[in-house]
């Protein structure tokens, strides 16, 4: 296990290097010129000399390989450059906005678990009856509705019509409700459906039948024999949601005026703020990779049948253990 973790961790630096090269090149291969954006923002007419001056100011007047090596060297010293738009150090900006995003993502993740899991249990319990149809319809809507549209609907309903919740900004719990709901709608819906399917599958297995024959109460069966086994795919899925939820913050933060890194990145895309986009992509890559690794580790820990290092040798033991179960 340790070898597996160390191996995966050792893969991160080369991965980051590749990602950084790709992002660096992609940004510069585009037709746009950040100097023109800079001048537009500054309301300076884009004369030839003004463009040249802006190139020099933004460090874009040197050949691309030189720019990259310079950037790489600086990055290794944790200096990711200065934002073209705000004029501040990029890492400082991203670290400033990241906590707000993690907070929003965290709450959305909680909603995904605390709403999705009970709905899934309820739905499986009342299979093909009204609660099941209700949850399935809700899930269908949750998966289909784009989060930005849901965001605006929520604002229209709870801020404009009912005046219950503040429509924008970051503050107390009230500020959090709508953006978190809008971001988590999809993952909540998926969780509910996933748990329902997984519970029904487990409920059909032999050990549940045997438990029932042993006279174990239905509540006990659901709790100890069905739910616990059925939760495994939820853990995997929840790990994958991190990407989904962070992606959701891009749009939702812009709509709800949430001072997070997603909104900051959206502005950077519009204004072609290369240093911000480079650093942001790397930070997000790192978060993704670490989350995936975490899920893999948890998975192995939760399900003793899974071993990453010596798969072949484990096959026999797995089979025998399954028989015992």
């Amino acid at each position: 296990m340790l070898r597996f973790i160390v191996g995966r961790l050792l893969l991160i630096p080369p991965l980051m290097l590749i990602v950084s090269v790709v992002v660096f090149l992609l940004l510069r291969l585009g037709r746009g010129d950040p100097a023109l954006d800079y001048l537009r923002l500054s309301q300076i007419p884009p004369t030839d000399s003004a463009v040249a001056e802006a190139h020099a100011l933004l460090g874009l007047d040197r050949p691309v390989p030189e720019q990259y090596l310079h950037w790489l060297w600086q990055s290794l010293h944790l200096d990711f450059g200065t934002s073209f738009v705000t004029g501040r150090p990029v890492l400082d900006e991203i670290l400033h906005y990241l906590p707000a995003t993690l907070q929003l993502g965290g709450v959305a993740l909680l909603l995904t678990l605390f709403i999705g899991v009970p709905l899934g249990i309820w739905s499986a319990h009342h299979r093909d009856r009204i609660p099941d149809y209700l949850v399935r319809t809700l899930s269908f809507i949750g998966v289909s509705v784009p989060n930005f549209w849901l965001g605006f609907l929520l604002v229209l309903c709870f801020s404009v019509w009912l005046n219950w919740l503040p429509p924008l900004g970051r503050g107390g719990v009230a500020h959090m409700v709508m953006p978190a709901l809008a971001i988590s709608a999809m993952t909540t819906a998926i969780n509910a459906r996933l748990l329902r399917a997984s519970m029904l599958e487990v409920a059909g297995q032999r050990h549940v039948l045997y438990a029932r024959l042993r006279g174990v109460s239905e509540v006990q069966i659901t709790r100890r024999h069905v739910l616990r086994n059925a939760l495994l795919p939820i853990v995997t899925a929840t790990g994958m949601y991190v990407g989904e939820l962070i992606g959701g913050t891009f749009v939702i933060e812009s709509i709800f005026g949430w001072p997070g890194v997603g909104r900051f990145a959206v502005i950077a895309i519009y204004e072609r703020d290369f240093p911000v986009l480079q650093c942001f992509t790397l930070v997000m890559t790192l978060i993704f990779v670490l989350c995936n690794l975490l899920v893999d580790i948890l998975y192995a820990w939760l399900d003793p049948r899974i071993r990453y290092a010596h798969v072949e040798r484990d096959v026999e033991t797995t089979a025998s253990r399954e028989g015992a179960a």
Binding site: P45, G87, F114
Partner: protein, 533 residues
């Protein structure tokens, strides 16, 4: 699988505690009480105000620079120049020496007196960074600043340059920071100016708070503070206004969409206003390239586009129809030029007289060449796209085939610089740059205007006249030159003026005295006050 359960519970607990921790750290400002509305005016802007260097660009937001820093002279809505920090000025006969008498009752918000030495220090810093201000002709023309006495300062120019006063009125870079905070590179260690407001607090990504400058020499603003929230999305801004999170929406650059403005207006619950013309929305026709190099084709296009319906249907009537490159309210621009009327029949007559005959497909041809024009616009700009489609349909009716191409803003800029277009959208620069800076730029090859005019037989003469008008010291000569330049451009039909760009304003009923600044980026917060019930 007991582990799964324990794990999920543990994970949930961790997230709960982290989230609660983050919440207590980020304690919100107290909910807005009713009495706050009478003391604090709340506005919104897509970004924070920035470092607020009086000479800085980029992250420095002009509306905020205009709140903190003041000019020697001020540009008025009628195009005239009024005294401000300077009470009077004299211009030498050769037009090279401007002597300003300064107010003697002005102090910076840190208590430092504003005097001739402070003016000089700021101008020295600007001149030390000439390269940054290369776009502004006046900076290139200033040779030096001299302190005559404590309250008199003199600017010495290299050559006569009549728009000196107009450019001194600009929001940047020729306004003044306290010499105590001004650094040699033109940056300031803290934003300290003479204006009615000072920056009290700035929270990144959340808001900027401006409070009254206690040392302000002029009338005290009625509001104690102006809070500017960071809101990027136009729909979010509209919701914020509707729900009372902000008091005011004002600006020219898509603060809210035109249909949202209409909705606020129709609701009757908000005060709405539209400013006088601030700049002009035009189509630029390329006189160098076929087929727009034919004067008859350009004039036919002028007659074939129904601007009134574009204004009514696409611009929601918010921008008045434009008949000339500059609105008559701009300096030297009230020339009584005869507008090109909407007259498709006249357009067809002009084309036929020039030898463009309709083919079987309805498109006109001449010498085997189809009457086909490439029209480039910013693809993501819904308004440009809508106008372009209407223009395409109207020109098709008179036998002109317009090929639309929506591209990225940057590649449109590149086309404008290189002249690779048949038709393209342009905007004039607006007050106080119009007309002098805008006509000046017509001489620079990297501008769409230069490229578009390149096919005119009198281009060399135009450029010479533009050079003369900027250095002329005689008012009558200047008016005569402008008449000639603007009449030529009008008759040669290089520009199809569509509408005059305006700013819009929507305010909650509790705010009174909402007006527009004389230029696009000035918002006169100091004149606004709570409405008396």
């Amino acid at each position: 699988m007991a582990r799964a359960c324990t794990l999920l519970t543990g994970l949930a607990m961790t997230i709960v505690s982290l989230t609660l921790g983050a919440m207590t750290l980020g304690i919100s400002p107290p909910a807005r009480a009713a009495q706050d509305a009478a003391r604090i005016l709340t506005y919104s802007w897509p970004s924070n105000a920035g470092p607020l260097d009086p000479q800085g660009y980029g992250a420095n937001q002009m509306y905020a620079q205009a709140m903190l820093y003041e000019p020697l002279v001020r540009y008025r809505a009628d195009g005239t120049i009024a005294p401000w920090l300077a009470t009077a000025w004299q211009i030498s006969a050769d037009g090279k020496r401007y002597t300003f008498t300064l107010r003697d009752d002005v102090t910076f918000s840190d208590g430092t007196p504003f005097d001739a030495a402070a003016v000089k220090a700021n101008i020295v810093a600007v001149l030390a960074n000439r390269k940054h201000h290369d776009w502004l002709e006046l900076v290139a023309q200033i040779d030096r600043a001299e302190v005559v006495d404590e309250h008199t300062v003199r600017l010495v120019l290299k050559h006569a340059y009549y728009p000196t006063l107009q450019e001194l009125a600009l929001i940047r870079p020729l306004r003044f920071a306290s010499p105590k905070v001004l650094e040699a590179d033109g940056h300031v260690s803290a934003p300290v100016g003479t204006g009615p407001w000072q920056l009290a607090e700035s929270r990144r990504g959340e808001f900027d708070l401006f409070t009254r400058n206690p040392h302000y020499w002029g009338p005290k603003p009625a509001y104690e503070a102006v809070k500017v929230k960071v809101i990027g999305d136009a729909n979010t801004r509209a919701i914020a206004l509707q729900t009372g999170q902000i008091d005011l929406v004002q600006g020219a650059d898509g603060q809210i969409s035109a249909d949202t403005f209409e909705r606020f207006k129709a609701s009757g619950q908000f005060k709405t206003a539209v400013s006088p013309p601030l700049a002009t929305r035009v189509l630029t026709l390329n006189s160098k390239r076929a087929p727009t190099r034919d004067l008859a084709v350009r004039q036919a296009i002028e007659h074939a586009i129904d601007k009134d319906s574009i204004v009514a249907k696409l611009l929601y009537g918010l921008e008045p129809r434009a008949d000339t490159l500059f609105a008559p309210s701009f300096p030297y621009a009230d020339l009584g030029l005869a507008p090109y009327r909407y007259d498709p029949v006249e357009a067809e007559r002009l084309l036929e007289a020039d030898g463009w005959m309709r083919g079987a497909d309805g498109i006109r041809h001449k010498d085997g060449q189809p009457l086909e024009i490439g029209f480039y616009f910013v693809g993501s700009d819904a308004q440009q796209k809508a106008i372009a489609e209407v223009v395409q349909a109207e020109l098709k009716r008179v036998g002109i085939d317009v090929r639309l191409a929506g591209e990225e803003a940057n590649s449109i800029s590149a086309r404008q610089k290189s002249g690779e277009f048949g038709m393209v959208f342009s905007e004039t620069w607006g007050a106080p740059y119009d007309p002098h800076s805008y006509v000046s730029s017509m001489r620079a090859p990297s501008h769409a205007d230069y490229q578009a005019q390149l096919g005119l037989p009198m281009k060399a003469k135009l450029d010479r006249e533009i050079g003369e008008v900027l250095t002329s010291t005689d008012e009558d000569t200047r008016q005569a030159l402008y008449r000639d330049i603007l009449t030529t451009l009008h008759q040669q039909a290089v520009y199809v003026p569509i509408s005059y760009i305006t700013a819009i304003s929507v305010s909650r009923p509790g705010v009174a005295g909402v007006g527009f600044g004389a230029t696009i980026n000035e918002i006169p917060f100091e004149q606004m006050h709570p409405a008396t019930p």
